[in-house]
Amino acid sequence: MAQGQDSEINQESSQQLDLFRKGELANRERSTGVTIFRKFTDSIKANGGDADAIIDSITVETEELFGCSVRELYQATGGKKNDRSTLPEIVQRSYIANEALSSFELERMEGTIGGEDQQENNENIVGTVRDVSKKTRKWLPW
């Protein structure tokens, strides 16, 4: 009887494990700069932003975090142009932190960022990214 109960418990546990592991693990991936940047752009799109909102969000976060443009950042740090993985580690880490925080904020605001038209919608999204970037900047060691 006891053996039967153990067997039932084991079966139940294994079903729970299946639920948690097979169901969720299959959808998990290692978070990297690439995946966090994708979450960031996904959260812009989920709020109705288009490619212009993405362009402006990148420009704004770079201005606020590093006090320069994307082009100047590559020039000043000697990174291989347009290859984010060649930027200094501390720069990449700062982008990752800001893009993670921005995407959390944009996900939280999903469905509430409106605008009369695409232009206004984009501006509201970029304004959110700018606000988050200003806060992130305060944590950075420069």
């Binding site: 994708r38 752009t41 490619a51 402006d56 990148i58 443009s69 994307v70 347009n82 290859d83």
Partner: protein, 153 residues
């Protein structure tokens, strides 16, 4: 877009290119002068389309933090996008940058050789379709490191 919509859009592009931390760095009066000097007669729609393509290409180029972004978003035009109707003009203006083809190639390699997600590769149809319509891109010559200043009409 109607001409008044084009003008509004070009003005917002110009402002974004002449701003720093949300503040304009050039007087707004300069806008009209720039359009006339670089793109021609402001009464014609074609002038505003030239300006739109030129400024959009500049925005795409200058914000290109990673070449993959060109393939997944900024040059990846979808029919529902506001600038879809001007995708060819924007691509033409982008290709005036000396390293534009190298950037596109690098972006495609990042996505298809080094392994982008299925979501990324599936969503890149816009740029592939756009490039498909171009012939002899590899044989281009006379490109420069700054965008061409389009001659006045």
């Amino acid at each position: 877009m109607k001409i008044y919509q084009l003008k509004e859009h070009v003005l917002s592009q110009w402002k974004s290119l002449h701003s720093w931390c949300g503040q304009l760095t050039s007087p707004i009066e300069q806008f009209g002068l720039d359009i006339r000097k670089q793109f021609g007669d402001r009464r014609y729609k074609v002038t505003w389309i030239r300006a739109l393509a030129y400024y959009q290409a500049q925005r795409i180029y200058e914000s290109c933090i990673d070449s993959t972004l060109l393939i997944t978003h900024t040059l990846n035009f979808r029919p529902q996008d506001r600038l879809y109707a001007y995708r060819n003009e924007i691509l033409d203006a982008f290709l005036q940058y000396e390293d534009s083809l190298e950037l596109i190639k690098q972006g495609l390699e990042n996505l298809y050789v080094d392994g982008g997600t299925a979501q990324d590769t599936e969503s890149a149809h816009g740029i592939l379709k756009l490039l498909e319509t171009r012939e002899g891109l590899g044989a281009r010559s006379g490109q420069r490191d700054k965008p061409r200043v389009l001659s006045a009409a």
